[in-house]
């Protein structure tokens, strides 16, 4: 995997939503999944260096496990309650997995590739890997890597039946990293992703939801993970802390679960 630079990192939950006024207008029809993703990406882009990259050379990589599931259910509600022929077309168009990607491209003027992927394991790591490949290929000069999930009462209820009554799904939230190509300057001052390796194995599929057995291993510490997206929040948080500390050198990060393993090597 070719090395790329992380130019900014951002995580956001729905509780922290604070959209600028003109975005609220453009997002009037959007659901909380899209709004949270947009807000997170807005902050991420603002704190990344302004390199003047043309829209055609910016790519978007959005990964999610369950997508706008609640919006899908709201459309189903309108179908069940109002009947065929009176279901909401707006809800339908927003229930497709790549609806949020469409908003991202329109609001942030992204004319390069926009790829939405679905993975129950670690969708954020999967999009990081694909983003790095496309940066290296020269098709794009900047990649916006995003992951988001939408709180689902239905899946939380199922998780509680499968695991334990205290199981929590995850609040609606998102993570956005801006990735750029490495320049000599970046090598000195920025965080470099040197390697991402993800492997999957057959498992009890309930663990995709319950996250039972998922743990993060970093600097000899094992941290148990029990919610969706937590791995991405943890990774983001740990990198931000490392950057603030001023420490230099290699940083190895690993996440393991019954469904596979992912290793990331960064350098500061």
């Amino acid at each position: 995997m070719p090395a790329v630079a992380i130019s900014s990192l951002q995580a956001l939950t729905q509780q922290q939503l604070d959209l600028p006024a003109d975005y609220r207008k453009k997002l009037r029809r959007a659901d909380e999944f899209t709004k949270t993703i947009i807000n997170c990406t807005y902050l991420g882009l603002n704190s990344a260096p302004q390199l003047g990259i043309v829209p055609e050379k910016i790519g978007l990589f959005l990964g999610t496990s369950f997508g706008p599931l609640e919006t899908n259910f709201h459309f189903l509600d309108s179908l069940l309650e109002d009947g065929e022929g009176q279901a909401s077309p707006t809800l339908f168009s927003h229930s497709v997995h790549n609806a949020a990607a469409g908003y991202l491209t329109r609001l942030f003027s992204i004319n390069g590739p926009a790829i939405t992927i679905s993975s129950y394991a670690w969708p954020f790591l999967a999009v990081l890997e694909q983003a790095a490949l496309m940066l290296h290929s020269g098709i794009i000069d900047r990649a916006i890597a995003v992951s988001g999930e939408m709180y689902s009462p239905l899946l939380e209820h199922a998780g509680q039946q499968l695991e334990k009554s205290s199981y929590k799904f995850c609040k609606t939230g998102a993570v956005t990293w801006i990735l750029d190509k490495i320049t000599e300057k970046k090598k000195e001052n920025n965080i470099i992703i040197n390697k991402i390796a993800i492997s999957y194995k057959p498992c009890n599929v309930a663990t995709f939801l319950t996250r039972k057995g998922e743990e993060c291993i970093v600097e000899n510490e094992n941290i148990k993970i029990s919610e969706l997206l937590s791995y991405a929040y943890l990774l983001t948080d740990q990198i931000q802390k490392k950057r603030s500390s001023g420490d230099k050198g290699e940083f190895k990060w690993c996440v393991k679960a019954p469904f596979g393993q992912a290793n990331i090597i960064l350098s500061f």
Binding site: A21, R24, K25, R28, R29, D82, G85, Q86, A87, S88, P89, T90, S93
Partner: protein, 85 residues
């Protein structure tokens, strides 16, 4: 007719989730689409469903819809005419 127009203005604002605008800001003859209120083709099909659900009035296709949706006034007249027949 005035009550219907008020209801339509509230419906457009609430159900199409228009921001920072109240019914009194919409004039009866303002264009709803394009440069007027800025509604688009997705709002148009949503409005078709809303009109059907709320008033039981069917709009057969978007050509018919375009005329009916020209303004609140046009829409109110369209609904009243349909309900009378």
């Amino acid at each position: 007719m005035d009550e219907l127009k008020q209801q339509l203005k509230e419906m457009v604002i609430n159900d199409l989730k228009l921001q920072e605008i109240s019914p009194k800001d919409i004039n009866d003859n303002d264009a709803l689409f394009g440069d007027g209120l800025g509604l688009d083709s997705l709002d148009a099909v949503e409005l078709v469903v809303l009109i059907q659900k709320t008033f039981g009035v069917q709009i057969e296709d978007m050509e018919e819809g375009q005329k009916a949706f020209a303004s609140i006034q046009a829409l109110a007249e369209f609904i009243e005419e349909r309900k009378a027949n």
